[in-house]
Structures are given as structure tokens and as C-alpha cells.
């Protein structure tokens, strides 16, 4: 089931039914479909991943999103006393409303701030540690073009601009207004105490257009990205500290016909 097909019967699925024995439906039809699709994709990704620690978190997230999609119930929405079932309705009425998604991640890297900043600032390095970034092309001193592949194999591309650049301290950027999911972010570098290197903090905000589609994509992109960004930082750390990223891709297993992840 693709999100688009499912969006057509949003009202049917989204409407709670009095005899529904399971948890209350508070996730809208479109988002349920998307939740299910992204959830299954994450599960598949997790199952194909050979690294236990990350894969486990991924599979949890995947399982949760699938469950949420299948049951139409989101524990988080319940806790926040909100829900996209009503939301999508409002969204359709009040296109143009904004609904930010923000994520943050942090890591301590045992290298000096100048070095970590320098590596990050050479944007062409991004595909070496950002899982879904396929390529980065630097256009000029502040502008660059990014190409990403989503877990489901979709190619996305957008342009971004560095809006603040303080060597050894901070890089802030935002995507061009034309991007499907408009976002802005900053990465901060500061010396860690006791000569432990650099504390790197990454903040990204998605500020999607008010359409249900844009918001849902951003929300899902956002929740998956929270995990993804942490993994990206982990790989950055591995590269800078250990000189390579940990991999088990291509190692022997049985049967050999099952392609290694």
C-alpha cells in the first residue's frame, strides 16, 4: 500500500469506530498508510542491517511505526493529547499553517574542534558518514546541491545555503525554498572538558508547508531522521577517531545466496 493510494480513503480509516476494540484511532488515514510504509521499510532495513546496536533501534522504530499505521493509534499523540486524525482535517481547512519538526543529536569526538569542524565543512565528505546522502556538489562559497536516497529508494535533491560559518565553532545552513521538505540546521563544535576532544551538537528543524502531505512527510522524515542523524554522527566519530567506519557489509554468511546487507 502506498501512502498516496491510502490517502484517498483517509476519512474511512481515520474515523474511529465505536466497536473498535483496540486502542483509540488518533492517527489520520494518510499518516497511517505512511506510517505503515515507512515502518515496514525501516523494519526491512533493520533486518538487513548487520549491526546489532543500530539495527535494534531501527527495528523498534520500524515496528512501532508499522503498529501505529496498522492500528491507527499513536501513543505519542495520546500523551501529547493531539492527533493527526483531527489535524489532517484542520490541515485541509487551514493550508498554510506551520508545524515544525526539530531533531537534535550530540556526540563527543576525540579530536580537536578545528579538525572536526574542518572535516564537516568540506561538504563533499558528507556521503562518507551520512547514510542516505549520495552526493554533495559545492556550487560556491556558501551554496551546495545535495542528493539523497530515502530508505525506500526514492531520490531527493535540493539546494542548501550556509548562512553562518564560524571556523571551529559553528556551521548553520538552510535549504532553498524549493526543497520538498524545507529545513534549516546548525552544527556546533565546542571543546570537551578534560581534553576529550570536541562536543558536536547537531540541530535540524523542518519547517514544512502547511499541506497535510508536506507535514506528514516531514513528520515521518523527522522521526526517522532523529535516529538517522545519531547514526550519522556515530559514523563521523568513527571516521575521525578510528579512521574508518565500522562495517560488516560483504562478510561471509550462510547461505551465500542471501545478499549481505
Amino acid at each position: 500500500m502506498t501512502p498516496i493510494e491510502d490517502a484517498s480513503d483517509a476519512e474511512d480509516v481515520g474515523a474511529g469506530d465505536a466497536f473498535h476494540a483496540g486502542p483509540e484511532v488518533n492517527v489520520g488515514g494518510f499518516e497511517r498508510g505512511a506510517s505503515l510504509t515507512v515502518g515496514m521499510a525501516l523494519l526491512a532495513l533493520a533486518l538487513s542491517q548487520r549491526r546489532a546496536r543500530g539495527a535494534f533501534a531501527l527495528s523498534l522504530l520500524g515496528a512501532y511505526l508499522s503498529w501505529r499505521g496498522a492500528t491507527g493509534h499513536c501513543a505519542l499523540y495520546e500523551a501529547l493529547d493531539t492527533g493527526s486524525a483531527e489535524d489532517e482535517e484542520e490541515g485541509r481547512l487551514a493550508a498554510g499553517a506551520h508545524d515544525d519538526v526539530s531533531i537534535e543529536a550530540a556526540a563527543t569526538i576525540a579530536r580537536p574542534p578545528e579538525e572536526v569542524y574542518g572535516f564537516f565543512r568540506r561538504l563533499e565528505n558528507a556521503p562518507r558518514f551520512m547514510a542516505f546522502i549520495e552526493a554533495v556538489q559545492v556550487i560556491d562559497a556558501t551554496r551546495s546541491r545535495w542528493v539523497a536516497r530515502t530508505p525506500t529508494g526514492q531520490i531527493l535533491d535540493w539546494k542548501a545555503e550556509i548562512i553562518e560559518d564560524r571556523p571551529g565553532e559553528l556551521i548553520a545552513w538552510r535549504s532553498d525554498p524549493g526543497a520538498l521538505v524545507h529545513h534549516a540546521g546548525a552544527v556546533r563544535f565546542r571543546p570537551a572538558p578534560g581534553g576529550r576532544g570536541t562536543e558536536v551538537r547537531l540541530d535540524v528543524e523542518y519547517d514544512p508547508p502547511g499541506s497535510a502531505l508536506g507535514r506528514t512527510v516531514a513528520r515521518l522524515f523527522g522521526s526517522a531522521t532523529e535516529y538517522r542523524v545519531e547514526e550519522d554522527l556515530r559514523r563521523l566519530k568513527q571516521l575521525l577517531e578510528a579512521g574508518e567506519t565500522a562495517t560488516t557489509r560483504g562478510q561471509p554468511r550462510c547461505p551465500a545466496s542471501v545478499p549481505p546487507a
Partner: protein
């Protein structure tokens, strides 16, 4: 090449798999000359590690000959004979630099999903990540069997004893007389424990412990904590080492309770031995945990531990920290780890060997496999 692969609970099979390749600059490929089955493999065998996947190559205790090295490995050359630590560690992060190797930030620490997901060494060949930081070159003149256990159970038993900070006159109790327990017993003696008390129920393992000068308690016949109180003049052991881990046996009410809880998936681990250790330990003593725990334990007497001011030490072994000092003791004859080997079989028989090791049949303590 041949490799022993995991397919599910109590299902391991010898498979034909592709030879490993160098995947990263710091890798080495090692042709395995000797490997073995560890108690930790039994946790995988018994299905306690959910991240295992069908077809995973098992084994994390192995040694062999370097076949090739990645572009960043300068300390090893093809032909070198090496023992490979089970902990996969980068050697450069905060933890590695503090010799806390098994806590490395930059690897998925461990072969065959013990905690990572690297294909293991119960195979003809194996890929060794961070080969410039881990493997120990073995001088000529030492047989494989003398040094193989440097990869895991020898340093594990040693670290468990070292963690007890043994003082003159100390009595150390050791739960579990498997290979880890055997090395813990001997290490405790080496570190000048006055007396070691070993606890298990397997006759062959208890007599191996007795041969090292330990007093023994058969937990299937005696009440462990009462016996310990009695044997230590009411004080309790100064240090207690748990070399059993999450799959402890027992028939006491608490053990049956654990079995029911884990069967119903309400708990993951059965800490029978650990509970006894906490109960028995003297005030201000040390509880050192080498046995693996994976999830949640129930009814751990933390109140008693708190009241007695116990110190807990635990974790995966920082193998690399002990390689050279223990190699030296093997070379000078203070330690001969070969005593623990009861069975030598070709790799082809790995599935049968797992079954035998699990059920401790035929006096089995440690099995080595030759590819």
C-alpha cells in the same frame, strides 16, 4: 570455506560460505588454526540473543596465521601467528586509550552478535577488524593450545579475580566451574587468595577445581549460602565471583520463579548464582561478575548489597589489557592453560561439539576445534 553457522535455538550447522575479504583499511584476514566454543556461544545457542540472524558465522575465541592485511595495518605481515582478542576495539577512542577496550566507542564490539555482528572464527578463515590494535603476535616455541585462551576465557577469569582486589587472608568464592571459573580460581590463587571455594554441580568440573587447590561445594547437594557461612566462620567470603551468568541452574524457589518468569518473557535472565553471591558476600566485600547478563533480572537483593556496602565489578573483559602480561606468565610457566581442554575435535564436528558442551557430557569442560 567451511564455517559453523547459527540457524536458531539449538541449531548450528557446518556450512560452505565465501571466504572473507578485506573490507576496511585496518582489517586483516586470518587463516584459523585453532578455535573453541565459549560459554557465551551457549547463550546464542540457547536463543538468548535476539539480534542473531540465520546463517551468522559463530566463534570469538580463535587464533591463526595472517593471510593478508589492509592498507593501514603496519604491525602485521602475512605469515605472522596471532591470537585475536574477542573484543573488537579501535584502540584510539576515549575508552580504548584508558584500556577499557571492551567499551570501545567505535566498533560493534564482538563477533557473531554477542554484541556486534561480525562473522566469527569457527571457520577456516576470518576477517579481523582493527587488526593493528588487537591481535597479539605469538613467538615461536609456544603451541597453539597454550595461547589460544588468551583470546577470551583466560583474561576473563583473570580480570574477574583481579577485580576482587584480593588482600592477604582473603577467601574468594567462585560460582561456576566452567572454563571461565577454572581460570578465575587459578587467577585468584595466583593473586594470593588464602582460600578459594568453588561452586558447581558437574563432577568433572568440581574435581578440576579441587585439583587447583579449591574447596568445592556441589550446589545440587548442598545449601550454598549456608555452607559458605559455615566455611568462613560466619564472615562470608571476602569476594564472590559469578562465572555463571544469565542461564544459571537451580531448584530453589527463586530459581524456579526465574524459570517461570523467563519462560513467560517477563524477565530475561536467571540470576540464581548472582543472588547467592550477593547474599553470601561479607560486609564491604566485592562481587565480581564475569558471567554474562543480557537484560533484566528480578529480585536481586539490592537492599542487602547496600546494607553491606558491597562493591560490584563487572563487564566484558578488556582482553587487550591482559594479553602481554598473561603471555609472559605462559612463557615463564606460571600458567599452563591447556589443563582446561577435555576434547579436541575437527571443525566439521562443531554442531555435535555444541551439543556436548551444552550438556556437559563426557566430562566436557572445554572443546577446541581444528579447521
Amino acid at each position: 570455506m567451511k564455517a559453523n553457522c547459527w540457524f536458531g535455538k539449538h541449531d548450528v550447522r557446518l556450512c560452505e560460505v565465501p571466504e572473507p575479504q578485506l573490507l576496511s583499511p585496518r582489517d586483516a584476514i586470518v587463516r584459523v588454526t585453532l578455535t573453541s566454543i565459549c560459554g557465551s556461544d551457549l547463550h546464542l545457542y540457547d536463543g538468548h540473543v535476539p539480534s542473531m540472524q540465520e546463517g551468522d558465522v559463530l566463534g570469538h575465541e580463535f587464533m591463526g596465521e595472517v593471510v593478508s592485511v589492509g592498507s593501514a595495518v603496519e604491525n602485521l605481515r602475512p605469515g605472522d601467528r596471532v591470537v585475536v582478542p574477542f573484543a573488537i576495539s579501535c584502540g584510539r577512542c576515549f575508552y580504548c586509550r584508558r584500556e577499557l577496550w571492551s567499551l570501545c566507542d567505535n566498533s560493534n564490539p564482538g563477533y557473531s552478535h554477542m554484541l556486534g555482528g561480525y562473522a566469527g572464527g569457527q571457520a577456516e578463515m576470518v576477517r579481523v577488524p582493527f587488526a593493528d590494535a588487537g591481535p597479539l603476535k605469538i613467538p615461536a616455541g609456544l603451541r597453539d593450545e597454550q595461547v589460544l585462551f588468551l583470546s577470551d576465557v583466560l583474561p576473563t577469569g583473570y580480570m574477574a579475580a583481579e577485580n576482587c582486589q584480593i588482600q592477604q587472608g582473603d577467601v574468594v568464592a567462585v560460582w561456576g566451574c566452567g572454563p571461565v571459573g577454572q581460570f578465575a580460581i587459578r587467577s585468584a590463587r595466583l593473586l594470593r587468595a588464602e582460600r578459594v571455594i568453588a561452586i558447581d554441580r558437574e563432577p568433572a568440573r568440581l574435581s578440576m577445581a579441587a585439583a587447583a587447590g579449591a574447596d568445592v561445594i556441589d550446589f545440587s547437594a548442598e545449601h550454598v549460602t549456608e555452607r559458605l557461612t559455615e566455611m568462613t566462620g560466619g564472615r562470608g567470603p571476602d569476594a564472590c565471583i559469578d562465572c555463571v551468568g544469565l542461564e544459571a541452574y537451580g531448584r530453589s524457589p527463586d530459581a524456579l520463579y526465574d524459570r517461570a518468569r523467563t519462560t513467560l518473557m517477563l524477565a530475561t535472565d536467571r540470576p540464581t548464582a548472582l543472588r547467592q553471591a550477593v547474599k553470601a558476600c561479607r560486609k564491604g566485600g566485592v562481587v565480581s561478575i564475569a558471567g554474562v547478563y543480557g537484560g533484566f533480572v528480578d529480585k536481586l537483593p539490592l537492599g542487602a548489597a547496600f546494607a553491606k556496602g558491597l562493591t560490584f565489578k563487572m563487564g566484558q573483559t578488556h582482553v587487550q589489557r591482559y594479553l602481554r602480561p598473561l603471555l609472559k606468565r605462559i612463557e615463564d610457566g606460571t600458567i599452563d592453560p591447556t589443563f582446561v581442554i577435555t576434547h579436541r575435535v575437527p571443525l566439521e564436528f562443531a554442531p555435535e561439539a555444541f551439543d556436548m558442551f551444552k550438556h556437559k557430557r563426557d566430562g566436557c569442560v572445554k572443546i577446541v576445534l581444528t579447521p
